[in-house]
Amino acid sequence: MRTKNTILFSLISTFFLIFLISIWKILATLQGLSINSFNIEIIFIFGLLISLAHLGIGDRIKSIYKSIIFSAIFVFCDGYLIQKLPIWYNVGVFLILYFFTNKISKYTFIGLKEEHSTQVILFDFLTLFGILFFSFVILFPFYMMLVTSFKTQIALLVNPLDFSINFGQDIKDLFKSYFVIFKSYKFGKYIVISTIVSVGTVIITLLFAIPAAYAVARLNFFGKTFLSTSILIIYMFPAIVLVIPLYTIFSQLGLRNSIEGLLIVYTATTLPVAIYMLQGYFKSIPKELEEAAILDKLSWFGIIIKIIIPLSIPAISSVALYVFMIAWNEFLFSLMFLDNPNSFTLSRAIQYLSGDAETPRQYLMAGSVVVTLPVLFIFVYFEKYLVSGLTAGSVKG
């Protein structure tokens, strides 16, 4: 049992180490270092030796010294003797090794004898692996989007793997792609249009949704259950089947290429989820408050303005943020309804930009950064509101 667990432990931890170093090597390669091989065999031998040595030494040396010694030996052998790479790369390897040896320091010979320790080791390392793997897989495209926007066409042709940003150059050269898209491609205008459309959608949606959600939450009327179930069903309905009829109708009414047209469609598509989210919250407000207001002869308008809205600011703001994000990210309808470059939204403008094969990729990425940043900023800043709302309303996507 002990031998089996020892072998398993050293293998798993070694694979984890290989994974860590490989990610670091990929990132280093993308900074322009010429690394042509992962050297998996060498890392494998080192990893096995380190984890076995760790178990063998046990508590005889303080764990912090142990970690430093192991890391230093690894860096010396791998980075200095074999690969001959710059200092910053080796510092990174050292930190990774330090992290790794710290992670394995809680496993001892005695611990490996316990029941289920094989599975516990597997579970622990899988979790660690998962966290790093998913972070890498998710953040990598965003990282590439950002760094590509700071490169030039020529630099990318010379070495397609060198994404290092030269901070020594002039600010104007560094942000050249951004200057170009704002100057030559009118992105300033598109930001304004996107903002108007998104904020407008938020305002109109709230104006329509708050009274409707109040009625669904509080009042008794014929057709109430029908209404609340149809909200959910309508929410399920695909946008793609609306496109052709709306296109024909909007063409005939002259609403294509207009902000008003987009506002109408966006409001209608976000209304069901807004009503659904709001009515859930309104139901949680104590009824006594309204009963007092009715005795004071407040009208329904007064009740909504003076009682419901002040009490549900958190819910209303989370709905507002959601609707904003949906409208800002929306692509299908802006593709169908806008074909005049003077009325493009940001998403449509980027798609238009990519339609020209000559457009350098860094401009496209600069545009992507411009459209992505506000949304990510809002999301990170208001995360608490948004996450609870996401599970409640499950925003369409």
């Binding site: 990929i26 309508i234 109708i249």
Partner: protein, 419 residues
């Protein structure tokens, strides 16, 4: 007393809900019915523009006669296929104008030129000319004259409103259009995208449900692909996967893992041999499914995480006392607790993936074997400009979705009964 109160409550409720209901009905429900109507018609993109009578006004001075002016109207029917009936024309002139030659179709009263042009066939064009003189000999302000725009009016048939119906579109969709292939592609895309996103959702939720440093940060990072704009993400992926100088291919070449670049988004099939069996993998479709999973597993993650956090801790403590292993705990406690969420997620994601348009459109445009039904709606309606066909494909989508929902709820209902 109570009765009137209930009545006012009802009335208030209708007033409060009416605006929202009207808007949603006109923009969402009405188009669905309009789709049915259009799908039985032979309509092309160019037919839906209502024909308009148009006039371009050109003001020309006549040499040697400064008090006279020639006005040329270039009249035309904007439509190339439909006629306009009973075209009427109106234009206003300054008070000192007198007309020199009056067309028999026109009348000039109170400085207002009115004409009845009768019927204009399709593509109709005419140069209509009028000469004016000022009655007090003053000079003519050409700019002012040009700024007054003529008004035209006419009647025409709206091709959408007549009652000529045909079954041609549906015949074409079902029998000519490689319908089976289309259906299979859509099904692969939807099914594997849904299952993949749920599997990754379970893995990540299980991961984040444990305590570690930076957990809240991890939770927001995991949601990034879901909240970021699809346009930006699709183009970033396209650049990463590009066969010529994309980062992924460059990296793989650099590490000598592959010898020639792989066109992940542009190659329909790739031959793979495992254990001596050769089979073809639909490469572009697989890549698109990967993108789909990458973008939508956060939703599954969030739902499952919320459910995991609601599982009572006592269950795990009891399992610990019984000496259960981590995998036993996962399969015997966690998994049964999240099956309900998973079945809801499966339905939601299946429906939405079935209708997903943007992702495929932006990545491949439907080329190299990634043409799904929603992409076909766009291609029929806007690339081939056959609106009727596009509508017919939409109807097929709706019918398939309704069928899926029906069977899904029936199955689900059966399982609930058994329990």
């Amino acid at each position: 007393m109570n009765d009137t109160l209930a009545n006012t409550e009802k009335k208030t409720a209708y007033i409060l809900t009416l605006p929202a209901v009207l808007l949603v009905f006109s923009i969402i429900l009405f188009p669905i019915f309009a789709n049915i109507w259009i799908s039985f018609k032979e309509v092309e993109l160019k037919d839906i523009r209502i024909p308009e009578p148009r006039a371009k006004k050109i003001v020309k001075s006549i040499s040697d006669e400064p008090t006279k002016i020639k006005i040329l109207y270039k009249l035309r029917n904007s439509s190339l296929i439909q006629e306009i009936r009973d075209v009427s024309f109106q234009d206003n002139f300054p008070k000192n104008f007198e007309i020199e030659n009056l067309d028999p179709r026109c009348s000039f009263k109170k400085y207002n030129l009115k004409c009845e042009f009768g019927n204009w066939p399709a593509k109709y064009r005419e140069n209509f000319q009028v000469i004016f003189a000022t009655n007090n000999g003053s000079k003519i302000d050409k700019k002012n004259l040009k700024s007054i725009k003529p008004k035209l009016d006419g009647k025409s048939d709206n091709i959408l409103l007549n009652t000529n119906f045909t079954l041609k579109n549906f015949k074409k969709v079902l029998f000519e259009n490689e319908f089976v292939d289309l259906l299979l592609t859509t099904f692969y895309y939807t099914f594997f995208g849904t299952v993949g996103s749920i599997v990754f959702g379970i893995l990540t939720a299980q991961m984040v449900n444990q305590k570690f440093y930076g957990r809240t940060f991890m939770r927001s990072v995991l949601l990034f692909p879901y909240v970021a704009p699809v346009v930006a993400l699709a183009y970033t992926w396209e650049l990463l996967l590009d066969p010529n100088s994309g980062t992924l291919n460059s990296l793989l070449l650099n590490y000598q893992i592959i010898e020639t670049p792989i066109n992940l988004l542009g190659q329909k099939y790739i031959e793979i041999s495992i254990l001596g069996f050769d089979f073809k993998l639909r490469l572009a479709l697989t890549t698109v499914i990967m993108f789909e999973i990458w973008r939508y597993f956060p939703l599954a993650f969030l739902f499952i995480l919320a459910r995991l956090q609601a599982i009572p801790k006592e269950l795990y403590e009891a399992a610990d006392v019984d000496g259960a292993s981590p995998f036993q705990k996962f399969f015997n406690i966690t998994l049964p607790q999240i099956t309900a969420v998973i079945s809801i997620l499966f339905m939601i994601r299946f429906i939405w993936n079935f209708n997903k348009f943007e992702d495929v459109f932006l990545l491949t445009g439907g080329a190299s074997g990634t043409r799904t039904l929603p992409i076909n709606v766009y291609q029929q309606g806007f690339a081939i400009s056959d609106i009727g066909m596009g509508s017919a494909v939409s109807i097929v989508i709706v019918v398939l979705l309704l069928m899926f929902m029906f069977f899904y709820f029936k199955l689900l209902g059966k399982r609930v009964d058994e329990n």
